[in-house]
């Protein structure tokens, strides 16, 4: 079942000018129609055997793209092909060749054992009954759930559930895998194990599309990354290429207490400032200010922060995270 390949030279995943709009209504008596453009003209190609990352903040459109690719959503416009098959015209053929693994702890039958969850999906994916048991044991081993198969899923930790999602997606040994934030909410050790399985699958030649908003995850796993913001791809390349895009920047980190919103707004208005992010750490705030290369910012920032208790201010080298922040906050 894992032998399906696109025609020579054809990408495994081919998305051309994909648009997806959701229509919804609000209000009880006076209904108002709302249109939300979740994906706005996305084009991407993933080559066979490639591990491609779709990186973006919540609501950027990552899950929508994956759901279109998994045939669970129809595109509003554009063309989407998996292994050369159109997801709108040949959904059943596409479903045979893909595995879909999503994040979170829902989407499993809690009252059933892990084995029964997998048995059910083994039938839904039309696995030959005589080899189902072997294959189920194999995927349970692969995701580190050996010996836990007979336990009910309701007693599983979030990490175990995530690994069961993974096992389910791999059951029919599909050549193309979609991972939608597979480590979300999983503890660091569990997340590292999930990442290891993803890396092993990529080494085994699977084509993988992974969505995440964890920078290091994309950096450590992906051959190529597309950064998506507000439904559009704002950058695409290898992790190194994306980092290179911000090396010509100055990054200043400020640890301070009680920075007023007006002060942050005034920092943003400085002509050389490209992006400002604020992270709350206990009582303190960590402001990360990105500015054009060579900017002499420190003095001006301290002026603007007059009256605010500043614990630390330092310039540092830009990272992939800075590249990401710059990309998703631009415009």
């Amino acid at each position: 079942m894992s032998t399906a390949r696109p025609l020579s030279g054809e990408p495994a995943i081919d998305v051309a000018d994909l648009r997806r709009t959701y229509r919804t209504t609000t209000g009880t008596l006076r209904r108002h129609r709302l249109e939300i453009e979740a994906v706005r003209g996305v084009t991407l190609r993933v080559e066979p055997g490639e591990l491609f990352g779709l990186l973006g903040p919540n609501g950027a459109g990552k899950t929508t793209i994956i759901r279109v690719l998994c045939t669970l959503l129809l595109p509003t416009s554009g063309q989407v092909r998996v292994l050369g098959m159109d997801v709108v015209e040949r959904p059943r053929d596409v479903r045979r060749q893909i595995g879909y693994v999503f994040g979170g702890d829902r989407g499993l039958y809690d009252r059933l054992s892990a084995l029964d969850n997998l048995r059910y999906f083994a039938d839904l994916y039309a696995l030959e009954p005589r080899m189902q048991r072997k294959r189920i044991n194999e995927v349970l081993d692969l995701v580190g759930l050996q010996g836990r198969g007979t336990e009910r899923v309701e007693g599983f930790s979030r990490g175990m559930r995530q690994r069961l999602h993974l096992a389910r997606g791999l059951l029919h040994d599909p050549p193309v895998l979609f991972f939608d934030e597979p480590t979300i909410g999983v503890d660091p050790v569990g997340a590292r194990e999930v990442r290891q399985v993803v890396a092993d699958l990529a080494r085994a030649g699977k084509t993988i599309l992974l969505t995440t908003h964890y920078m290091f995850e994309a950096d450590s796993l992906c051959d190529r990354i597309a950064v998506i913001a507000q439904g559009q791809i704002v950058a695409e390349g290898t992790p190194q290429q994306l980092k290179a895009g911000v090396t010509a920047r100055t990054v200043v980190e400020i640890e301070a207490y009680g920075v007023p919103e007006q002060t942050v707004a005034r920092i943003r208005e400085l002509p050389e400032v490209e992006a400002v992010t604020i992270e709350v750490r206990d009582q303190a705030q960590l402001l990360t200010v990105q500015a054009s290369e060579g900017s002499q910012l420190t003095g001006r920032l301290l002026q603007l922060l007059e009256g605010v208790r500043v614990e630390r201010i330092a310039a540092r080298e830009p990272t992939l995270e800075d590249a990401y922040v710059a990309l998703v906050t631009a415009g």
Binding site: R106, G107, D123, A126, E138
Partner: protein, 273 residues
């Protein structure tokens, strides 16, 4: 990545596996009242009290015979499974957010859908058989032994028909936010409209029309004829009508399921609660 060679099952064999094995697994996964301490009070005790209540009310007020109320209520209680069980078997996929993973599989939709009806049908038969059995034991309900197989056939057809109706409600649950309200209304409306407690001819004309397209109405009429000593020939037209209505509801249910599947892909409503 796989040491085990993953082979695909043949199409027909897989269809029946999804129908029988898959249907049973999904029933165990989605039916709320499956444990004995939930099943016995909900699927056996509560329906039994319904039978007792109406039989004693009938006896006290003299508005109907024991046979009238026993047959009506014993057949109607199969809808505990047919309505609620079937709604759970379909609508809970959305509640548990397992609908997307299922619909992302290439599984045959007819097997996936209809297979869920079989355990529900068996459970409904069990409830109705229990109702008749206890009625025979404590309410002095005594149909002729010759009528028993014919009565069993009527119960089978009626339960299947009610399961078809439940499938339609369950399919609505793939889209509607609160299908349980509808299921509750359907259960109690059937008490009134299907001739369970009130003879059909005493209902207003509009309600009689509604009663004729609902499941159980004709099955209950056939059951009463058989239990009161009529020949199967007299009951056949009702049994056929009941079967026809059941098939019609099952077809409507499947069409609704496919429609909501397509709508879900169009609107993205599968996992929206």
């Amino acid at each position: 990545m796989s040491a085990v060679t993953v082979q695909r099952a043949n199409r027909t064999g897989n269809f029946w596996r999804i129908f029988f094995v898959g249907g049973l697994i999904s029933y165990r996964a989605l039916f709320y009242w499956i444990t004995p301490w939930q099943y016995i009070p909900t699927m056996l005790a509560a329906p039994l009290f319904q039978i007792l209540f109406f039989v004693y009310l009938g006896r006290a007020t003299g508005v109907g015979s024991t046979t009238f109320f026993v047959v009506g209520n014993s057949i109607q209680i199969c809808s505990m499974s047919g309505i609620y069980g079937m709604t759970m078997a379909l609508a809970n996929e959305r509640q548990f957010q397992t609908l997307s993973p299922i619909l992302a599989t290439p599984a045959n939709r007819i097997a996936l859908f209809l297979g869920r009806g079989l355990p529900v049908l068996v459970s409904g038969l069990q409830t109705t058989a229990f109702g008749f059995l206890v009625s025979a034991l404590i309410l002095n309900f005594r149909p002729s032994p010759k009528a028993l197989p014919e009565l069993a056939l009527t119960v089978l057809v009626s339960t299947a028909s009610c399961t078809g109706f439940g499938m339609a409600l369950g399919s609505l649950g793939l889209r509607a936010r609160d299908i349980w309200l509808t299921a509750n209304i359907a259960y109690f409306a059937m008490l009134l409209l299907c001739g369970v407690e009130v003879p059909l001819h005493q209902l207003p004309g509009v309600l009689q029309v509604v009663a004729h397209v609902l499941p159980l109405t004709h099955g209950i009429a056939a059951g009463r004829l058989l239990a009161s000593g009529h020949h199967l020939g007299a009951a056949w037209p009702y049994i056929w009508e009941e079967l026809g209505i059941g098939v019609a509801w099952a077809v409507i249910a499947f069409l609704l399921f496919r429609y909501f599947e397509r709508e879900g892909r169009r609107t993205g409503s599968f996992d929206r609660l």
